[in-house]
């Protein structure tokens, strides 16, 4: 294993402020390449967006970081160490649509899933765990609904419960897969507030993001990919019309690209 990764560029030294570092990550579905040799270096205590057109491999990137999608090659480090034994520093918020919401469980049960590792196999959920879960629900504005059957939640509420579950893990890095997709405006505001508070506590937030209009407002670092790396860096330097054009290609109309720093082109998403 180590001899294999030697031919890739592992010799690079991780900068001290790196939260999640990806080197030469390649993933394929059968004989279709999903992402090819992607490098990224998401900084600590910041909010990073992963953007790119449909099918660019954004979700695949997240999934292969946490091991849901096996990688063909590549090295993933967390705070300079291999991810393998550091998974507990990561909290993952999957896409809402990835689960069956008719599953027999309620809001409190779902949030407590974030504490399973802490409690262990045989440990019991005690008052302490319940109050941690309640606190996390409160942070996303869902404390009132702790007994609700999950099938009765709206899309925005489902997303908040998933975020609360990740908060319960008390991780260092939060990976979110399209947290704002299909949620109401109030939920979007609530989620972004929570994410910003995480950043202020020196946590690192990395989100796959669809809405180009809000990239500048929400994030301070961006990775732009389309199967391969296109650009990466601080928003001000990287989120430029030129880079957007090369990420989205013909899908992004030029007229809109001119003003994309402030506006939105939904036809590209």
């Amino acid at each position: 294993m180590s001899s294999m990764s030697d031919n890739t560029n592992t010799s690079k030294i991780t900068p001290p402020n790196s939260a999640l570092e990806i080197q030469g990550l390649t993933v394929s579905y059968g004989d279709k390449t999903a992402i090819f040799s992607v490098d990224a270096n998401f900084p600590k205590a910041s909010m990073s967006a992963i953007i790119g057109p449909n099918g660019a491999g954004k979700s695949t990137l997240l999934k292969s970081v946490i091991g849901v999608q096996p990688k063909l090659s590549g090295q993933i480090n967390i705070f300079g160490n291999p991810i393998k034994n550091n998974l507990k520093k990561i909290a993952y918020v999957p896409q809402r649509v990835s689960v069956d919401w008719d599953f027999p469980t309620n809001v409190m049960d779902v949030v407590q899933m974030g504490l399973y590792r802490q409690v262990g196999l045989l440990g019991r959920m005690r008052g302490k765990q319940t109050s941690i879960a309640m606190e996390c629900l409160d942070r996303v504005g869902m404390a009132d609904l702790w007994q609700q059957q999950i099938g009765q939640l709206s899309g925005g509420q489902q997303q908040r419960v998933f975020l609360a579950r990740a908060l319960a893990q008390d991780a260092e890095i939060y990976l979110l897969d399209e947290p704002f997709s299909g949620v109401d405006a109030a939920t979007e505001r609530a989620i972004i507030d929570v994410l910003k508070s995480l950043k202020s506590k020196n946590k690192s937030v990395i989100a796959v993001h669809h809405d180009l209009a809000t990239v500048r407002d929400y994030f301070d670092y961006v990775l732009m990919i389309n199967i391969k790396n296109i650009a990466e860096g601080l928003i001000n330097e990287t989120f430029t019309n030129e880079n957007l054009q090369s990420t989205y290609g013909g899908k992004l109309e030029l007229a809109h690209a001119e003003e994309l720093s402030v506006s939105i082109d939904r036809t590209t998403t």
């Binding site: 689960v99 027999p104 469980t105 399973y116 504005g141 709206s154």
Partner: protein
Amino acid sequence: MNTFVQAMLFQAGYNVALVTIGAILLGVAAGSAGTFLFLRKRALVSDAIAHATLPGVGIAFIIMTWLGGDGRSILGLLCGSAITALVGLIIIEWIPRRTRLPEDAAIGSVLGVFFGAGIVLLTVIQTMSSGRQAGLESFLLGSTAGMLFEDAVVIAIGGFLSILGIWIARRPLTIVAFDKDYAISMGYDIRKIDLLMMGLVLGVTVIGMKLVGLILIVAMLIIPAVTARFWSNRTDEVVIIAGFLGGLSGYMGAILSASAPSLPTGPIIVLIAILLFIVSLFLAPNRGVFSIFMQYRKTKSNIHRRQGLLTIAKGKDVVSPFTKKLLLNEGLQGLDGLTSKGKELITKIHIDENRWIAAKEIYPDKDMSKNYGIKFIEEILTMDELTNLDQYIKSQKFKSRSYDY
């Protein structure tokens, strides 16, 4: 009938008591293990591995006879069946991972191939000169006639172990069934957890072969779980209820077939489980067919009543025959226009309409729109919120009033 009462009280003889206790334990173990199978959407996999036990029974019998032992030793047969079932399971898992074939094709192939091979082996065994082969075919549909104390002990130990396994692994099993990707991100090894689940199912299948038979064991795994889902919205409760219903089916089935010796125990147990399922399907609160139908009727009437009255209030004619009939039947409209009761309700609806508009303005974060037209807003908001809302409506700030009253 007398035998029935005796059987109920475990007084109908040694064999009947053994069978009854075995059936209860098997039912509890199958019901609770089956719940995770059902939640993980793996019901058909268990059917395939149950069928894949048959060649193992045949091979074990042949080997044990060749070695000069008793070919029908229960432990030997169970080991053999567990081995071929495991091979079947591995193949089912391997085919979709390594080829482009979907899982259902793998399940179908394994079921057919293994079961066919098993039947061939049983036929060969019938022609063998040595060994006491009679009774092997009872593994297909179960048989209680020759149940020994040894068999009951195997069921008791196996049942206890699988229940213990379920209890210990309940959290990993639940999280993998609900959100596989999230479980992986927390570091759970889902292949191990799935293997454990299938191992528990395999254990139940193997111990249940003697009693229920391998063809029907999938019913014991799935039906109690599906039935229990009608009665609860919590995973833990579904597991417990499924175990209870499984045990109840086992008990009822065993005593029923004991009181009428021509009835086969295994299929009777399954039929009892199905009876419980049908009762739940129709009568369960919230999820039952009857409850869903009543809910639908109520919602439909609420919507038609409001829509109809608002239409009349605007001076237009109601077109829908259903609405017309509803308003007449409820005494809201007479032959010469609205009744006083109808007028009262219109005023109430107008107040409510304004409240909905205002609520959108002052409680934009509250997700209530799914109840609009079906419920009055006072059924959703707290007293404080309602008071607050009415003050807002009276104030100058509220501009979007659409009804005066």
